[in-house]
Symmetry: C2
Subunit: 207 residues, 2 copies
DNA sequence: ATTATCTATAGATCTATAGATAATGC
DNA sequence: ATTATCTATAGATCTATAGATAATGC
């Protein structure tokens, strides 16, 4: 069977993803990956040639995952009024970041430390994203013109929402990992932060 | 002379700091450091024993630098009213982050990828910080009680300000390094963001 | 025949130290 | 004498590949 044939090839990808997300590029070795899979280290190179290509493969998909989630968050939800849509964007993005707890730190680390890789990948994906952003931009401008919200650049609104979400989560997750607070306590704090972020963003908009 | 004697010892520290800030721990080698200094690689180990201890030495001071700047930002400025003080905190912190452009990414990367080191160092510095935070906390609560601002937890206010500053800067610096936009353009964008952050935070407070 | 998997290893890289030599201060 | 500096290298680690062997599909 084909699925049986590809078993190790796929499992290498899966375990590599786990390890890269956990430890990052440099702390992960191809031998570690092979050990998790239960195969020989040479096989990792047989299928993916170099550690770098393997990482690229995974990073590219992870970045896509993150960007597509952003897309889906700002997607038009016709049934909601503007204020409700803003709440919806913050909530869905916040929850996504929290429930993919390794994803954001992984991307941020890479983004801060490997500009080359990021440049290459971002240029590919930038174009398709314009549509959704334009639609969101249009909606915000409409609200501003109609005098229903304070004047604000759409891009500022997005940056504020996403960066408050991301940094709140990263702070919480760092505190947890460094100071060993109970997960329940953290969860409550995060829920509280989410509400605080909503309040902050809505206050910026409200006339 | 003593200064002549310590010359290489000090210069190793300086060059190591430059390289660690630029490239992070794993991409920097003791041979690279020695080369920058113009001495032998063994000397790096002679003075600092291990690469890890050398890094600790530098990281500890850099973290302290960052935390002390936060302290100085929230320090009481008696001559300002509350709203002006908030503006002052945002501005001074924002400007510090921008003019120490390698510092924040360096700390964030380490914070995300080496919890052990962070735990060790943070516990030391946590206590001394209480005073200033308490004073700020008290001031905010006073304002809330007096009905001059909306109800908000002081810690939320701080997190919002600092994380908007940090993430705006990191985004800008990543965009610059990945997409090669001219520095002047970036500078303008950052100034704009700073004003936007001030607007956002003040709107959250304003009744 | 072709593809998958393994064994074994070359070769690169890097940290850390041992031991020799030079410089310095008493 | 003591401290600073250098040369040389052991030893660890890791990636990547060559070449042998086993499994699979026609």
């Amino acid at each position: 069977m084909n699925t049986e044939q590809n078993k190790l090839e796929d499992r290498i990808l899966v375990e590599a993803e786990n390890l890269f997300l956990e430890q990052g590029f440099s702390k992960t070795t191809t031998a570690q990956i092979a050990k998790k899979v239960g195969c020989n280290q040479a096989l990792v190179h047989y299928y993916y040639r170099t550690k770098d290509k393997l990482f690229d493969n995974i990073f590219e998909r992870k970045l896509k995952e993150l960007l597509e989630n952003i897309d889906s968050c700002i997607q038009n939800t016709e049934n909601l009024n503007f204020e409700e849509q803003i709440k919806h964007i913050i909530t869905t993005h916040f929850d996504f970041v929290c429930s993919n707890s390794q994803l954001v730190p992984f991307i941020v680390t890479e983004l801060l430390n490997n500009h080359e890789r990021f440049r290459r990948l971002f240029e590919n994906s930038a174009k398709s994203r314009n549509d959704l952003f334009n639609s969101f931009e249009h909606k915000v401008e409409e609200q501003v013109k109609a005098g229903r919200i304070n004047s604000i650049k759409p891009i500022d609104l997005l940056i504020t929402m996403f960066s408050l979400n991301v940094s709140s989560f990263m702070l919480a997750s760092t505190v947890q990992k460094s100071l060993n607070v109970p997960p329940q306590f953290l969860k409550e704090k995060l829920e509280h932060r989410k509400e605080e972020i909503i309040k902050t963003v809505l206050a910026r908009l409200k006339k």
